[in-house]
Symmetry: C2
Subunit: 355 residues, 2 copies
């Protein structure tokens, strides 16, 4: 028959086994484990040897139950495969493990229900910090629930960290690590405007998404500063995906001929835009300028290389952990990281100006 477990006793050794083998008491073993209390070198050695011999490892659950801290941070994202999230994840994981923490990964697939459920789950786990990544919904009911979770997490000794989304209000016990959406969007729009573009399409308008709100604010402010009116019919709704970018671009091409620049909501959207443009024989940047947002690695691989807004994803993740774990040290509960545009090859002045 196919082998089963090579185990006979199937039980893992406990601290008691170690104590017995070493000929000391259980608390003594606990002390050498924690290393915080004085233990006679000789005893210590015996214990260590016993542990090695039994191949002992502590039971993290027992330890957590008995009061020691949990040593885990939870990480709640939309979808690990989003290049956006992946880099934040890397930052989180790096900082967490450098602080000796484990990292719980949960995904929500853009479902607010699931997001809330997951936060609940984290409460069961006593995660030291619960980091929720990505844009939030504008829905007041949703905000209310999030506020509630901030409170209950706080009460049970956890910290809610909002990463890449706005604060829930002054009095809510949550940490926010955000980046400057509005500023990046403003800079990019101004860049386009100053190149001479007047009909700029914003592609990938997510209704009720904090990210969109913030970026639109920058978009509008830049237009205002340049005395250019925003053409509301050029604010195109759609998802943050390549497929959606391609789709939206096709429609745009079919319906409008006055647009000279496309501001894609994300680099992913821009990738789809570029593809649709190429398929339609529209040259970039000669016939159409295209810019994105995020500065994911893909951006520099596209043809032409994409001019976009850089977001410090990885650092965002690190800060989230740092602040989530280190609160109270400083009153520093709020951080906004800067963004800046990265100029590559996808923007040129509009045709009528280019000669």
């Amino acid at each position: 028959m196919p082998k089963k477990s090579s185990t006979e006793n199937g039980k893992r050794p406990t601290i008691r086994d170690v104590a017995a083998l070493a000929g000391v008491s259980v608390p003594t073993v606990s002390r050498v484990l924690a290393g915080n209390y004085p233990v006679a070198p000789a005893t210590r050695a015996k214990v260590l040897r016993a542990m090695r011999e039994l191949d002992y490892v502590v039971n993290a659950h027992a330890r957590a139950l008995a009061g020691a801290t949990t040593k885990t941070v939870a990480f709640v994202v939309d979808d690990v495969t989003g290049p956006f999230y992946a880099f934040i994840a890397r930052g989180v994981e790096q900082e967490a493990s450098s602080q000796g923490r484990l990292c719980l990964l949960c995904t929500t697939h853009g479902d607010p229900e699931r997001e809330l459920a997951v936060v609940e789950l984290m409460r069961e786990q006593h995660a030291e910090a619960v980091i929720v990544v990505g844009g939030a919904w504008d829905d007041p009911k949703y905000a209310e629930r999030m506020r509630y979770f901030a409170t209950v997490l706080d009460k049970s000794g956890s910290r809610l960290v909002l990463c890449g989304r706005p604060s829930l209000g002054e009095d809510v016990p949550a940490t926010v690590v955000h980046y400057d959406n509005e500023g990046g969007s403003y800079a990019m729009t101004a860049y386009l405007l100053s190149a001479g573009h007047r009909k700029i399409c914003y592609m990938g308008f997510g209704v009720g998404l904090s990210t969109t709100d913030e970026r639109m604010a920058g978009f509008r402010r830049a237009h205002a500063d340049y005395d250019v009116e925003v053409d509301e019919s050029l604010l195109i709704h759609g998802h943050f995906s390549k497929a959606s970018g391609r789709e939206m671009t096709r429609h745009l091409l079919a319906e409008r001929s006055d647009v000279t620049a496309i501001f894609a909501a994300t680099d992913m959207v821009a990738a789809g835009t570029l593809k649709a443009l190429r398929e339609a024989g529209v040259r970039v940047p000669e016939d159409m300028s295209v810019v994105g947002f995020d500065d994911i690695p893909l951006a520099s691989d596209l043809t032409p290389a994409l001019t976009t807004v850089h977001v410090p994803h990885e650092q965002l993740g690190k800060e989230a952990v740092r602040l989530g774990l280190g609160r109270s040290e400083t009153g520093d509960d709020q951080v906004v990281l800067g963004t800046h545009i990265v100029v590559r090859d996808s923007v040129a002045p509009p045709k009528h100006l280019s000669h």
Copy 2:
């Protein structure tokens, strides 16, 4: 003074608080939580109401300690940002959460030491399954340690799952979920060979990596079947990265002029290759055919769209969880998922044959 009421002292409510408020015993509460035992509807209602009122959530650690299963699977990867890993991660996370499991994320950054340390950590956590993703090192010492971990994990009720790497041997208590590297490599090489290519460069040869070993086997077998000798000087060492691909390609171009096709070890490498080729003015596929391995999303975004070997990443992740959790149900401890080539636009017959 009276203690107990957790609602007031800021501690999280326990099952005891719920029992008290509902006027029942602790085990009764436990029963409605578990839902596996008969409880009078009326009692049940009272308990539920009390839980809601106190905003109670179980303590996962206490539950784990008391014997109930841990409900977590661990996921050990090289680097979350690798597009390769991200999709496996998605599969793992999906299947895990659909089975009500939490997902622990650990990264190793290609460091065998850290990989082993992480497996140790997982032992403390009592993860039900520990999924180690990606190629392994050929080093016998490394294999020995992995075997050891398979054994200790097994002894403590966990299961080691090797995902995307070969088995450690028949008698090792580990599950393996692999994909057909050799077959995919064979198919691709044969495809190139049958298109007329005779001087094929294998780019990104990783010394001592199981992945490379397997792919080389397919590469060689195809050559043998076509009676073409493998030019050993065309097996170029390098990392699985875009930068490395670019670098290797530059060198190749500088030193050889007889190569008509490049088999990049991964799509990432291929992306670098393509870039270097474009920079050198070499047209793809007219002057040089290029193929990759993995079929990550990037592959179809490249110009030209990359012909590559498809690896079912996401399903790999799902199977890993399924098998890791479901062992003993079937003796099914070993699975190899198929691979197949995806033909896009980066291959053409070599020039001297193309007219």
